[in-house]
Symmetry: C2
Subunit: 255 residues, 2 copies
């Protein structure tokens, strides 16, 4: 079968527990000392009827040359990207939220952003098919399994995708350090929203900025205006989470 790899103990455990990915087999280095995590992987594999086998360190390093596999590599089916139309349909009738990555090129950043999105309860992530990073092994690893907990939509045209979301009652927020409003000036809790994040140096493309209903910046307390893009995304998403928690608390008090 067409396959990809995931590696690292936590990433493999996550994928096994979630059970959404089809496993081909699991390779365990025969030179790594077993520990509770590796035993857990073997137990999960046995229960699910997934083959695991012990291979040499050299074989492991050929499959994952950066040497970050921690002695465990799983060969699995590639992630299933979701169609935008299906995504919109699935989340009709509830408040929904999407993060759009416009040209973010560092796999570590994309992986970390996916973790933050899942923690913040974001429903989907849209990435461009050509500019930026697709879901590769590094993204899977740095996402700590988050790729299995969120709908990932791949599109040839971010412009068309965002327009489609606007037509379906999503409000579009662009992160732009020239913006007048701060990210905490928006009330995120009563609308479907799309947050567009741009590449660290280039920012968001003009054609996407034009589609924004709101532009927001993250204020800085010094002139050193240079947040890492995954940190900037986390800051905005958790402003939404804070608002959500505060509102819920208030409603529980009043109700």
């Amino acid at each position: 079968m067409d396959s990809t790899i995931i590696y690292g103990k936590n990433a493999v455990i996550e994928a096994l527990e979630k059970g959404e990915r089809e496993f081909n087999k699991i390779l365990i280095s025969n030179s790594v000392h077993s520990d509770t995590k590796i035993e857990h992987i073997k137990e999960l594999a046995r229960r699910q009827g997934i083959v695991y086998q012990f291979v040499s360190k050299e074989k492991m390093n050929t499959l994952e040359p950066d040497g970050k596999h921690q002695g465990v590599i799983a060969q699995i089916a590639p992630i299933k990207y979701v169609e935008l139309e299906d995504f919109i349909e699935k989340h009709k009738g509830e408040l929904s939220s999407v993060v759009v990555l416009d040209g973010v090129e560092d796999s570590h950043n994309v992986g970390a952003i996916m973790r933050s999105c899942v923690c913040a309860g974001i429903k989907g992530i849209i990435i461009p098919s050509r500019r930026g990073v697709l879901v590769n092994s590094t993204v899977e690893k740095t996402s700590a399994g988050a790729v299995n907990h969120i709908d990932i939509i791949k599109t040839n045209s971010l412009v068309n995708a965002i327009q489609k979301l606007k037509e379906n009652d999503y409000w579009v927020i662009a992160s732009d350090h020239h913006a007048e409003h701060n990210h905490f000036d928006i009330d995120y809790t009563d609308m479907n929203f799309v947050i567009i994040m741009g590449a660290e140096h280039a920012g968001i493309s003009k054609s996407l900025l034009k589609l924004a209903d709101f532009r927001v910046k993250i204020p800085m307390l010094t002139n050193f205006n240079s947040l890492n893009v995954s940190n900037a995304t986390a800051i905005i998403l958790f402003e939404y989470v804070s608002q959500f928690c505060k509102k819920n608390k208030k409603e529980n008090k009043n109700g």
Copy 2:
């Protein structure tokens, strides 16, 4: 002289503009096409009387084997760590703030955290001499020059350092996902504070947790409780920034 390297166009420009680091010389790859950034580096070097020379790609790759130098490597004096006593003295009479990294081991995370700290106006970062990461080339690079804009304190004992800060009227906040309070329940704007961040899996050591005046968690909207440590740090720091901005706006209105 004892020296270290920094690499990448932006990191070198930052260090030249800040002017706080003693340069030995700048090496430029003779196989890289010049652009405005490289011309800017040459111009800054000329003005400051710093030697630059063109060397082969092979020589560059020997000095920085990951190949992320973008054609520019500077040999500079190592960063000067600051003594805790001097730091405390320097910031007496103003509101001060410190981030403590307890065993954070990934250089990319440490670099990204330093960027966020500088953007948020944090005055100092404390790292342990033995557990965790010192300021190496990867930290310098991923910090995008932030290491030159903040006091970095290296200590043999985080416990002693935090106790010293407590004696000097700093309040200690520990990030702990078992905490009862949310990170936004604290008012950061009217005190000197220390925020302790722990390693992603191990968390904060017990001996440090005991010293905390407040323990705070970042609430999640799903069960996927797994933020990247640099993202978690950014979320807490920018809660402080938001509070600071809102308070300032209110005071300006009232005054």
